[in-house]
């Protein structure tokens, strides 16, 4: 009898469905798996383990990191940074094979999150960079 494992199933299924179920913060044991410091993606040093860098199999870490760096640039407009985040997620998601619904859901979730909770992060980052 042939044994089936997840990797074999992925090869047969093409990975699509399994990739769709992927949510990952990109951290394990209190460190980022990519080797960068905590907070170099979605979330801060405190929240990196809880904020997904991958939703529905789409890696959004670079869009998040660019957004963080926009906030940390003296004089950069918060509205522009937040708009760029949404646009970057949409484009990057599409480039990774995400469909329109998935990409819009992911972009929407992050856009709403930064609109609701981004003010204090923006103010702090601007204060640190404008000296």
């Amino acid at each position: 009898m042939q044994e089936c494992n997840i990797e074999l199933t992925r090869q047969v299924q093409g990975g699509g469905f399994w990739d769709f179920l992927k949510f990952d913060s990109g951290t394990s044991n209190g460190a980022r798996e990519d080797g960068n410091a905590l907070g170099a993606g979605c979330g801060t040093v405190k929240s990196d383990a809880y904020v997904p860098d991958m939703l529905f199999g789409i890696d959004v870490s670079q869009a998040c990191f660019q957004h963080d760096q926009s906030y940390s640039t003296c004089g950069f407009s918060r509205l522009t940074a937040d708009t760029n985040l949404s646009n970057n997620i949409l484009k990057d998601c599409s480039a990774q094979g995400g469909n329109a619904l998935t990409c819009n859901v992911i972009a929407g979730v992050y856009s709403i999150s930064v609109s609701l909770f981004g003010a204090s992060a923006f103010n702090q980052a601007q204060a640190q960079s404008c000296y």
Binding site: G35, V45, D59, F65, A121, Q124, A125
Partner: protein
């Protein structure tokens, strides 16, 4: 009726939890990054402003660096972070950017990026360290004209000079250039120079 009671309890607990989170100042900790001290291989790294994001981009965990090598990088981190920030040149008038004939290659000039294009750092990695010298790559990225991210790698050598680390020269006569990125089996993006990616 029982279900209604359960929902009331659930939303009550959620409301209480959120209320505590926001009223206690915990929220600040989770949404605002004030920096931290990171310990890698027994060596401390001050991942703190200024240049907080540039310091976060230091890739220190996947290259099996020795404690001595990590200590060298820790000492050089403030200088390399400041240098990286200057290389990004965001929010700086093009008139203030280094001229193209200076010894540091300017990514904006090489890639013909407008002042409006936001240049970011992805990672600083591929460390090669001796007592007086640190060689490494910086991977940059920006949103290209078609809206997709473009990744670009250049190489650098820093020398130690009177307890300061300063840019000495580029490790190679040319930058590695534009990177080709693919997803690894776990779904994360992995980038390699375009020429090498084509060869593979």
């Amino acid at each position: 009726m029982n279900r209604l009671h359960t929902y009331r309890k659930l939303f009550g607990s959620l409301g209480l939890g959120l209320g505590l989170l926001f009223s206690s100042g915990c929220a600040t900790e989770y949404f605002v990054d004030k920096g931290h001290v990171d310990g890698v291989g027994g060596i401390s790294f001050d991942i703190k402003p200024p240049y907080l994001n540039e310091k976060k981009a230091f890739n220190l965990r996947v290259e099996n660096l020795s404690p001595w090598q990590l200590q060298q990088i820790s000492d050089a981190m403030p200088f390399i972070a400041a240098f990286t920030n200057a290389q990004l040149g965001n929010g700086i008038s093009t008139a203030l950017l280094p001229a193209s004939d200076t010894k540091v290659r300017n990514i904006r000039h090489i890639q013909n990026l407008s002042a409006d294009t936001f240049l970011a750092v992805k990672t600083i990695q591929n460390w090669q360290i001796t007592a007086q010298q640190i060689e490494f790559n910086i991977d940059y990225f920006y949103t290209g004209q078609d809206g997709h991210f473009v990744y670009f790698r250049d190489n650098y050598i820093f020398n130690k000079n009177k307890q300061k680390w300063v840019f000495e020269k580029h490790a190679k006569t040319e930058p590695e250039g534009v990177l080709a990125c693919e997803k690894n089996p776990k779904g994360w993006r992995v980038c390699a120079p375009l020429n090498r990616a084509k060869a593979n």
